[in-house]
Amino acid sequence: MPLAIELKSITKRFGAFVANEDVNLAVESGKIHAIIGENGAGKTTLMNVLFGLLQPDEGEIWIDGEKKSLPNPAAAIDAGIGMVHQHFKLVPSLTVAENVFLGMEIRKGGLIDHAAQIKRTAELSKQFGLQVDPTERVGLLSVGIEQRIEILKVLARGARIIILDEPTAVLTPQESRELFQTLRGFVAQGMTVIFISHHLEEVMEVSDNVSVLRLGKNVATRPTAELTKSDLVQLMVGRLVSFDRLPRTPTIGKTVLEVEDLWARDDRRLPALRGVSFGVRAGEIVGIAGVAGNGQTELAEVLSGLRSSSHGSIKLNGRTITGASAREIRAAGVGHVPGDRLVRGVDRNASISMNLLMGRQDQSPWSTHGIINRNYLLEQTQALIKRFDIRARGPESTAKSLSGGNIQKIVLAREFTGSADCLLIDQPTRGVDIGAQESIHGEIMRQRDAGKAILLISVQLDELIRLADRILVMFGGTIMGEISGDRVDEEEIGMLMAGVVPEPRSNTLGAA
């Protein structure tokens, strides 16, 4: 089988840090090749080298049997490589066709030839089975369709080798399946796909070959069919990790958080929550499942006082906290692990200790008469670094110098050690590697066992299945249904996530 891409002994250093060390990668032409690895394993660096965004310190890049140097992305595009980034770069006010041809507009007499662009977009759309309306404005479209446009952009630039960075992170299970269909269509037409993912099931389902990176080195490249999911985990982490539902004892107490008929608007003033009602009891983890953008973020923001509700009531321990400020809600006993930890959860440029201080800077013994108690802060920081196993050089390390998992541990260390008896946890392991995921899950279970009422919002179903006592599925700002955590049918949840109420079925034993 000819090789579409061959990377030979790629080494890339950032100062003293080696992101890729002597990495070899051979991607067969006409195959779907998955690249997996923990965060910081060097996947993104390697792909950026391949796409000309970074220059390797050592090593060679061969494309279709020819040695190439790729000084910039333009050179990579010329060589037939296209990259679909995790975060889409589309202009919402432009149409689909305009976005596809942005920067390489088809011109006629110095003006943009809109008709030709629309025609070409429709042709590409048809050829590759990526259904879009070329004349629609992007701002009105769903995430799944935005991704199709990103892929069309790459195809319009003549890519024969397509790199997708975590493409399924924002999709519903159904949308993911459609994407896989598209990818299989690509290889059927002789193209090559490189697929970066965290989701092992997906890798097992869609890829022909898989390469595993660990700590900047590649540890294995095998045909996917020869491997099991647990083999992959072991290769990635270097040890055995279990992803089964965590064992638990019933510790459920009185209702702590009570939400009734809650309505709220999003940043565009459109309704994001439409009459949400539920309760969370002490010692219980209530999971919120749903595709990102169905009101989960707004729910967490309203509950933590960062967004105002337009109707309905929120009660904490029987006391109404509707309309209270973030400060008052914190004081009333709500801890919040925000979904976007780099934006809300930490100040990336500040030290660990300064990040741990947030929200309690006015409380004794953290400060006395308005003066920060530096010794106490330092002691506490050291203790929390130890207890939460934050891998850092010391209390003065800046947050941005840490990996995603360790940054998340700072947030947990701060929010879990306050006096809160209700915890709002939004995407606790997004972008966090498997080793840290395990310890974060353990910490959340300990909080449950300590009698905290926990609302856990996650777009990862396996996380909810592992942790939640009950799962509520959100779609379009409403709760579509409730499923007990120990009897989950992924198909049923998937349908609820897509806004379809499934037919009642007798078989609820889970799709094992």
Binding site: A326, R327, R348, M354, M358
Partner: protein
Amino acid sequence: MSDRFDSLFGQGLAILFALGLGALVILTVDESPVRVFVTLLNGAFGSPERIAGTLLQTTPILICGIAACISFRGGLFNIGIEGQLFMGGFWATWVGFSFNLPPALHLLLAMAAAVIAGMAWIAIPAFFRARYKTNEVVSTILANYVAILFTSYLTINWFKRSGGQSETPPILQSAYLPELFSFSRLNWGLVIGLVLAVGVYLFFTRTSRGYAVSEMGANPKFAEYGGIDIKKQTFLVLIASGAVGGLAGGVEALGVHHRFMEGFAPGFGFDGVIAALLANGNPIGTIFTALFFGALRSGSLLLEVDTTASREIITVIQALIILAVSAQITIRRKASDSTAGERRWKF
């Protein structure tokens, strides 16, 4: 630690680069750059009198720089310090010549008037920034012109000293800010500035309120999430910055001129903003950058006497420094993978 070194090193390099370019400019007017720089140094530090003269120029720049530091730390950009200084200077003078009071009390009231005038002058921009997110850069910069023309109008049309000059009557001795030495007009304003610099530094590094302001400046969403009242704090930070800007005017009026006149304090407010920028918003660092600008100003006096170069050369060099430093800041921001809208002023 190495961060701090990097930034100091970078700043130094930027200044050197600007001086180098300045040397080229001096060559174009057929003067020796070495002679110009030596004259500058001599003019700024050549004798106790000249050092005092330099410190006299440094004082208002320092106090204005501290005012700028306060707003920078909160992620805000008070560029209206010039206007606050004019208002502070005018109203301190007004208290100084309108009332007859015991010495300490008179001085204190005149200073208070300066502070209140500075706060009042930023109150409207501060309110609109806090309540409606109106860009404070635009509103404070516009307020500058109004302040300068308004104080000029008051001076000429309401409080002009009988006979000649466009200036107010002199203030009474009881409102003088005492001089430090017999041989110079250098006064206690310098001490006020130094104490203020240390105080503001400690406020930001040691107190919980200072922490809250710093985090609001570094990452407002994080601060909001942590329960900090962004609107209220934005208003207060700008008011505090304006208060110090007004104080700078009071010190200038009560310590140096003992009256208010047109062109009362040319560009001290803007120099202060630049000094604070050069020091990365650190009030301690601002002491040194303010001294640098003070030395340029006072050294340039001798320049015209001893060389064929004109004072405008100094303005050119200053502009080059600003250019070099802002270019350096931009490059650094681009190099660090900063998220959108993030501003950081490091200590």
